[in-house]
Protein backbone atom coordinates (compact mmCIF):
# COMPACT_ATOMS: atom_id res chain seq x y z
CA UNK A 1 0.00 0.00 0.00
CA UNK A 2 1.42 3.38 -1.02
CA UNK A 3 1.89 6.29 1.41
CA UNK A 4 -1.01 8.11 -0.25
CA UNK A 5 -3.37 5.13 0.09
CA UNK A 6 -2.41 4.77 3.75
CA UNK A 7 -3.04 8.46 4.31
CA UNK A 8 -6.42 8.29 2.55
CA UNK A 9 -7.35 5.35 4.79
CA UNK A 10 -6.47 7.44 7.86
CA UNK A 11 -8.42 10.46 6.59
CA UNK A 12 -11.40 8.27 5.68
CA UNK A 13 -11.45 6.56 9.09
CA UNK A 14 -11.29 9.91 10.88
CA UNK A 15 -13.71 11.88 8.69
CA UNK A 16 -16.06 9.00 7.89
CA UNK A 17 -15.67 8.11 4.24
CA UNK A 18 -14.48 5.13 2.24
CA UNK A 19 -12.18 5.02 -0.78
CA UNK A 20 -15.17 4.03 -2.92
CA UNK A 21 -17.02 7.14 -1.81
CA UNK A 22 -13.98 9.29 -2.57
CA UNK A 23 -13.67 7.67 -5.99
CA UNK A 24 -17.36 8.37 -6.73
CA UNK A 25 -16.96 12.01 -5.65
CA UNK A 26 -13.88 12.39 -7.88
CA UNK A 27 -16.14 11.39 -10.80
CA UNK A 28 -18.69 13.98 -9.65
CA UNK A 29 -21.14 11.35 -8.41
CA UNK A 30 -22.71 10.79 -5.01
CA UNK A 31 -22.04 7.31 -3.61
CA UNK A 32 -25.18 5.41 -2.51
CA UNK A 33 -23.72 5.02 1.00
CA UNK A 34 -23.34 8.80 1.30
CA UNK A 35 -26.94 9.30 0.19
CA UNK A 36 -28.18 6.68 2.67
CA UNK A 37 -26.19 8.29 5.50
CA UNK A 38 -27.54 11.73 4.67
CA UNK A 39 -31.16 10.53 4.91
CA UNK A 40 -30.71 9.21 8.47
CA UNK A 41 -32.64 10.94 11.22
CA UNK A 42 -35.79 11.48 9.10
CA UNK A 43 -37.82 9.68 11.78
CA UNK A 44 -35.63 9.88 14.92
CA UNK A 45 -35.31 13.68 14.76
CA UNK A 46 -39.05 14.51 14.92
CA UNK A 47 -39.63 11.64 17.40
CA UNK A 48 -36.99 13.08 19.74
CA UNK A 49 -38.60 16.52 19.81
CA UNK A 50 -42.16 15.17 20.15
CA UNK A 51 -41.05 12.97 23.08
CA UNK A 52 -39.30 15.93 24.69
CA UNK A 53 -42.45 18.09 24.51
CA UNK A 54 -44.63 15.19 25.73
CA UNK A 55 -42.32 14.62 28.71
CA UNK A 56 -42.35 18.36 29.47
CA UNK A 57 -46.15 18.51 29.30
CA UNK A 58 -46.52 15.34 31.36
CA UNK A 59 -44.12 16.70 33.98
CA UNK A 60 -45.81 20.12 34.14
CA UNK A 61 -49.41 18.85 34.11
CA UNK A 62 -48.57 15.96 36.46
CA UNK A 63 -46.85 18.40 38.81
CA UNK A 64 -49.87 20.73 38.68
CA UNK A 65 -52.23 17.83 39.41
CA UNK A 66 -50.07 16.68 42.35
CA UNK A 67 -49.96 20.25 43.64
CA UNK A 68 -53.77 20.65 43.51
CA UNK A 69 -54.28 17.18 45.00
CA UNK A 70 -52.01 18.01 47.97
CA UNK A 71 -53.52 21.46 48.63
CA UNK A 72 -56.53 22.34 50.73
CA UNK A 73 -59.83 22.77 48.89
CA UNK A 74 -60.78 25.40 47.87
CA UNK A 75 -57.33 26.65 46.79
CA UNK A 76 -55.98 29.64 48.64
CA UNK A 77 -55.02 32.72 46.63
CA UNK A 78 -51.29 31.91 47.01
CA UNK A 79 -51.82 28.30 45.84
CA UNK A 80 -53.89 29.51 42.89
CA UNK A 81 -51.07 31.84 41.83
CA UNK A 82 -48.55 28.99 42.18
CA UNK A 83 -50.78 26.75 40.04
CA UNK A 84 -51.05 29.44 37.38
CA UNK A 85 -47.24 29.75 37.50
CA UNK A 86 -46.75 25.99 37.01
CA UNK A 87 -49.24 25.80 34.12
CA UNK A 88 -47.86 28.98 32.53
CA UNK A 89 -44.26 27.74 32.69
CA UNK A 90 -45.34 24.37 31.25
CA UNK A 91 -47.17 26.07 28.37
CA UNK A 92 -44.28 28.44 27.61
CA UNK A 93 -41.71 25.60 27.85
CA UNK A 94 -43.82 23.39 25.55
CA UNK A 95 -44.23 26.21 23.03
CA UNK A 96 -40.51 27.10 23.05
CA UNK A 97 -39.37 23.48 22.68
CA UNK A 98 -41.99 22.88 19.97
CA UNK A 99 -40.74 25.91 18.03
CA UNK A 100 -37.07 24.91 18.42
CA UNK A 101 -37.88 21.31 17.50
CA UNK A 102 -39.94 22.34 14.48
CA UNK A 103 -37.15 24.59 13.22
CA UNK A 104 -34.54 21.86 13.78
CA UNK A 105 -36.63 19.20 12.00
CA UNK A 106 -37.30 21.55 9.09
CA UNK A 107 -33.62 22.42 8.83
CA UNK A 108 -32.66 18.72 8.82
CA UNK A 109 -35.33 17.98 6.20
CA UNK A 110 -34.04 20.79 3.98
CA UNK A 111 -30.50 19.41 4.37
CA UNK A 112 -31.65 15.91 3.39
CA UNK A 113 -33.52 17.33 0.41
CA UNK A 114 -30.49 19.39 -0.65
CA UNK A 115 -28.35 16.27 -0.41
CA UNK A 116 -30.78 14.25 -2.56
CA UNK A 117 -31.00 16.98 -5.19
CA UNK A 118 -27.40 18.14 -4.86
CA UNK A 119 -24.33 17.53 -6.93
CA UNK A 120 -20.67 17.25 -6.01
CA UNK A 121 -18.75 20.52 -6.06
CA UNK A 122 -15.01 20.76 -5.61
CA UNK A 123 -12.91 23.18 -3.54
CA UNK A 124 -9.15 23.18 -3.72
CA UNK A 125 -6.36 25.16 -2.14
CA UNK A 126 -4.01 25.57 0.76
CA UNK A 127 -5.51 24.45 4.05
CA UNK A 128 -5.33 26.75 7.06
CA UNK A 129 -5.99 24.95 10.32
CA UNK A 130 -7.66 26.74 13.19
CA UNK A 131 -9.07 25.72 16.50
CA UNK A 132 -10.08 26.60 20.00
CA UNK A 133 -9.04 24.27 22.79
CA UNK A 134 -10.75 24.13 26.16
CA UNK A 135 -14.02 22.97 27.62
CA UNK A 136 -15.76 23.44 24.26
CA UNK A 137 -13.00 22.55 21.79
CA UNK A 138 -13.68 23.38 18.16
CA UNK A 139 -11.47 22.53 15.21
CA UNK A 140 -11.80 23.80 11.67
CA UNK A 141 -10.13 23.79 8.27
CA UNK A 142 -10.27 26.78 5.95
CA UNK A 143 -10.18 25.53 2.39
CA UNK A 144 -11.08 27.32 -0.83
CA UNK A 145 -12.59 30.29 1.01
CA UNK A 146 -14.91 28.09 3.10
CA UNK A 147 -14.68 26.95 6.71
CA UNK A 148 -15.32 23.32 7.59
CA UNK A 149 -15.68 22.16 11.18
CA UNK A 150 -14.09 18.77 11.71
CA UNK A 151 -13.32 16.36 14.53
CA UNK A 152 -10.05 16.73 16.41
CA UNK A 153 -8.92 13.39 14.91
CA UNK A 154 -9.43 14.65 11.35
CA UNK A 155 -7.84 18.00 12.22
CA UNK A 156 -4.70 16.34 13.56
CA UNK A 157 -4.25 14.36 10.33
CA UNK A 158 -4.33 17.43 8.09
CA UNK A 159 -1.15 19.36 7.33
CA UNK A 160 -1.41 23.13 7.67
CA UNK A 161 -0.35 24.93 4.51
CA UNK A 162 -0.63 21.85 2.28
CA UNK A 163 -2.90 21.69 -0.76
CA UNK A 164 -6.07 19.65 -0.42
CA UNK A 165 -9.10 19.04 -2.59
CA UNK A 166 -12.47 18.79 -0.88
CA UNK A 167 -15.65 17.33 -2.37
CA UNK A 168 -18.83 19.03 -1.18
CA UNK A 169 -22.43 17.94 -1.28
CA UNK A 170 -25.02 20.45 -0.04
CA UNK A 171 -22.22 22.50 1.51
CA UNK A 172 -20.81 19.61 3.53
CA UNK A 173 -17.26 18.43 2.86
CA UNK A 174 -17.99 14.71 2.58
CA UNK A 175 -14.60 13.58 1.30
CA UNK A 176 -11.22 15.20 0.81
CA UNK A 177 -7.70 14.33 -0.23
CA UNK A 178 -4.24 15.84 -0.49
CA UNK A 179 -3.35 17.15 -3.92
CA UNK A 180 0.39 16.75 -3.43
Amino acid sequence: MSDLEQYLDQLGAAHGFSKEELEANRRGAIHPAQLARSQRGAVSGPVFWVLLVVVLLAGGLGGAYAFVDGSSSPLSRVDRNALIGILGATAIGALVFSAVGFASVRRAARRREAFRAGSVTVVEGLVAKGGVRGSASTFWLDLGGKRFFVSQRTWELVTHGATYRGYLIAGQMVTFEPVR
Binding site: D3, Q6, Y7, Q10, G134, R153, L157, T159, P178
Partner: protein
Protein backbone atom coordinates in the same frame (compact mmCIF):
# COMPACT_ATOMS: atom_id res chain seq x y z
CA UNK B 1 9.99 29.59 78.10
CA UNK B 2 8.12 26.28 78.20
CA UNK B 3 8.62 23.57 75.60
CA UNK B 4 5.10 24.24 74.36
CA UNK B 5 5.80 27.94 73.78
CA UNK B 6 9.05 27.07 72.03
CA UNK B 7 7.19 24.76 69.65
CA UNK B 8 4.64 27.48 68.88
CA UNK B 9 7.40 30.02 68.14
CA UNK B 10 9.20 27.46 65.96
CA UNK B 11 5.98 26.72 64.00
CA UNK B 12 5.35 30.46 63.59
CA UNK B 13 8.92 30.98 62.38
CA UNK B 14 8.68 28.09 59.90
CA UNK B 15 5.37 29.47 58.60
CA UNK B 16 6.96 32.91 58.21
CA UNK B 17 9.88 31.45 56.25
CA UNK B 18 7.57 29.48 53.92
CA UNK B 19 5.26 32.49 53.43
CA UNK B 20 8.19 34.78 52.76
CA UNK B 21 9.64 32.25 50.31
CA UNK B 22 6.35 32.05 48.40
CA UNK B 23 6.04 35.86 48.21
CA UNK B 24 9.69 36.11 47.07
CA UNK B 25 9.16 33.43 44.39
CA UNK B 26 6.01 35.16 43.09
CA UNK B 27 7.73 38.57 43.03
CA UNK B 28 10.71 37.06 41.19
CA UNK B 29 8.43 35.34 38.65
CA UNK B 30 6.50 38.57 37.99
CA UNK B 31 9.78 40.49 37.61
CA UNK B 32 11.07 37.86 35.15
CA UNK B 33 7.81 37.99 33.17
CA UNK B 34 7.87 41.77 32.97
CA UNK B 35 11.50 41.71 31.81
CA UNK B 36 11.01 39.22 28.93
CA UNK B 37 9.93 41.78 26.31
CA UNK B 38 12.18 44.75 27.25
CA UNK B 39 15.18 42.37 27.54
CA UNK B 40 14.50 40.90 24.10
CA UNK B 41 14.14 44.42 22.67
CA UNK B 42 17.51 45.38 24.13
CA UNK B 43 19.17 42.16 22.96
CA UNK B 44 18.08 42.50 19.31
CA UNK B 45 18.08 46.33 19.06
CA UNK B 46 14.31 46.57 18.66
CA UNK B 47 11.72 49.00 19.99
CA UNK B 48 9.28 47.60 22.54
CA UNK B 49 5.71 48.85 22.93
CA UNK B 50 2.42 47.64 24.36
CA UNK B 51 -1.05 48.17 23.00
CA UNK B 52 -4.54 47.36 24.26
CA UNK B 53 -7.76 47.26 22.28
CA UNK B 54 -10.89 47.50 24.40
CA UNK B 55 -13.61 45.02 23.53
CA UNK B 56 -17.11 45.51 24.99
CA UNK B 57 -18.44 43.45 27.91
CA UNK B 58 -15.20 43.26 29.84
CA UNK B 59 -13.27 41.45 27.10
CA UNK B 60 -9.77 42.46 26.07
CA UNK B 61 -7.14 42.22 23.38
CA UNK B 62 -3.58 43.10 24.40
CA UNK B 63 -0.44 43.27 22.33
CA UNK B 64 3.30 43.20 23.05
CA UNK B 65 5.17 44.56 20.06
CA UNK B 66 8.83 44.54 19.07
CA UNK B 67 9.75 46.53 16.03
CA UNK B 68 12.96 47.00 14.07
CA UNK B 69 14.15 47.69 10.54
CA UNK B 70 14.28 44.05 9.46
CA UNK B 71 12.39 42.19 12.19
CA UNK B 72 9.10 42.60 14.02
CA UNK B 73 7.24 40.60 16.66
CA UNK B 74 3.53 40.84 17.37
CA UNK B 75 2.26 38.96 20.40
CA UNK B 76 -1.50 39.02 20.92
CA UNK B 77 -3.54 37.89 23.92
CA UNK B 78 -7.29 37.97 23.52
CA UNK B 79 -10.00 37.07 25.96
CA UNK B 80 -13.59 37.00 24.77
CA UNK B 81 -15.88 35.40 27.32
CA UNK B 82 -14.26 32.14 28.31
CA UNK B 83 -12.34 31.86 25.04
CA UNK B 84 -8.68 32.82 25.10
CA UNK B 85 -6.55 33.23 22.00
CA UNK B 86 -2.81 33.66 21.94
CA UNK B 87 -0.69 34.26 18.90
CA UNK B 88 2.90 35.27 18.39
CA UNK B 89 4.09 36.22 14.93
CA UNK B 90 7.72 37.00 14.12
CA UNK B 91 8.36 38.47 10.69
CA UNK B 92 11.89 38.94 9.36
CA UNK B 93 13.13 40.34 6.07
CA UNK B 94 15.09 37.62 4.32
CA UNK B 95 16.84 36.62 1.15
CA UNK B 96 14.53 36.03 -1.81
CA UNK B 97 13.07 32.52 -1.77
CA UNK B 98 13.00 30.78 -5.16
CA UNK B 99 9.89 28.83 -4.14
CA UNK B 100 7.70 29.19 -1.07
CA UNK B 101 8.31 26.82 1.82
CA UNK B 102 5.53 26.42 4.39
CA UNK B 103 6.01 23.96 7.18
CA UNK B 104 5.07 23.07 10.74
CA UNK B 105 7.60 21.83 13.28
CA UNK B 106 6.30 19.82 16.22
CA UNK B 107 8.01 18.20 19.16
CA UNK B 108 5.73 15.13 19.00
CA UNK B 109 5.28 12.77 16.08
CA UNK B 110 2.26 13.85 13.96
CA UNK B 111 -0.77 11.58 13.56
CA UNK B 112 -0.02 11.09 9.84
CA UNK B 113 3.37 10.67 8.22
CA UNK B 114 2.28 11.47 4.65
CA UNK B 115 3.66 15.02 4.73
CA UNK B 116 6.51 14.24 7.13
CA UNK B 117 9.82 15.70 5.95
CA UNK B 118 13.04 14.07 7.08
CA UNK B 119 16.33 15.91 6.99
CA UNK B 120 18.77 13.01 7.19
CA UNK B 121 20.01 14.35 10.52
CA UNK B 122 18.96 11.48 12.80
CA UNK B 123 19.40 13.49 16.02
CA UNK B 124 17.15 16.26 14.68
CA UNK B 125 14.58 13.96 13.08
CA UNK B 126 14.15 12.13 16.39
CA UNK B 127 13.39 15.32 18.30
CA UNK B 128 11.53 17.52 15.84
CA UNK B 129 8.87 16.51 13.29
CA UNK B 130 8.54 18.66 10.20
CA UNK B 131 5.45 18.46 8.00
CA UNK B 132 5.02 20.09 4.61
CA UNK B 133 3.88 19.28 1.10
CA UNK B 134 6.92 20.95 -0.47
CA UNK B 135 9.50 18.50 0.86
CA UNK B 136 12.42 19.51 -1.35
CA UNK B 137 11.99 23.22 -0.64
CA UNK B 138 11.76 22.59 3.10
CA UNK B 139 14.76 20.28 3.11
CA UNK B 140 16.77 23.07 1.48
CA UNK B 141 15.62 25.51 4.16
CA UNK B 142 16.53 23.23 7.04
CA UNK B 143 20.27 23.94 7.09
CA UNK B 144 22.37 22.84 10.10
CA UNK B 145 22.10 26.39 11.52
CA UNK B 146 18.31 26.36 11.19
CA UNK B 147 18.07 22.87 12.69
CA UNK B 148 20.21 23.96 15.65
CA UNK B 149 17.98 27.03 16.11
CA UNK B 150 14.87 24.84 15.95
CA UNK B 151 16.23 22.55 18.66
CA UNK B 152 16.63 25.58 20.92
CA UNK B 153 12.93 26.46 20.59
CA UNK B 154 10.90 24.94 23.43
CA UNK B 155 7.50 25.40 21.73
CA UNK B 156 5.40 22.34 20.96
CA UNK B 157 4.41 23.65 17.53
CA UNK B 158 6.03 26.27 15.33
CA UNK B 159 4.52 27.37 12.02
CA UNK B 160 7.00 28.68 9.46
CA UNK B 161 6.56 30.34 6.09
CA UNK B 162 9.44 31.38 3.84
CA UNK B 163 7.99 33.26 0.90
CA UNK B 164 8.93 36.24 -1.25
CA UNK B 165 11.56 38.09 0.74
CA UNK B 166 10.36 37.33 4.21
CA UNK B 167 10.24 34.67 6.88
CA UNK B 168 7.31 34.30 9.26
CA UNK B 169 7.61 32.19 12.41
CA UNK B 170 4.48 31.83 14.53
CA UNK B 171 3.29 29.93 17.56
CA UNK B 172 0.26 29.96 19.77
CA UNK B 173 1.35 29.70 23.37
CA UNK B 174 1.64 32.56 25.82
CA UNK B 175 5.29 33.58 26.22
CA UNK B 176 6.19 32.77 29.84
CA UNK B 177 9.88 32.04 29.36
CA UNK B 178 12.46 34.28 27.67
CA UNK B 179 13.76 31.24 25.73
CA UNK B 180 10.42 30.91 23.91
CA UNK B 181 10.78 34.42 22.54
CA UNK B 182 14.53 34.57 21.94
CA UNK B 183 14.56 31.02 20.53
CA UNK B 184 11.89 31.92 17.96
CA UNK B 185 13.62 35.23 17.07
CA UNK B 186 16.97 33.43 16.64
CA UNK B 187 15.18 30.91 14.43
CA UNK B 188 13.67 33.68 12.26
CA UNK B 189 17.11 35.31 11.93
CA UNK B 190 18.73 31.97 11.02
CA UNK B 191 16.04 31.34 8.40
CA UNK B 192 16.37 34.88 7.02
CA UNK B 193 19.96 34.18 5.95
CA UNK B 194 18.64 31.60 3.48
CA UNK B 195 20.00 28.20 2.53
Amino acid sequence: MSENELMQWAALGAGGVVGGGVIFAIARFVKQQNAIWPDAAAKYGLTYSKKSEPIPLGNSRDFDLLDGPSLSVVSMREQIGRTRRRSNVITARSVAWPSPARFDVESTRPAASFHLVTTGDAAFDARRFVTSESKAAVQAVLTPTVRAALLQCPQHTLRITCEGQQVVVSFGELVTDAKELTGAIDLALALAKGP
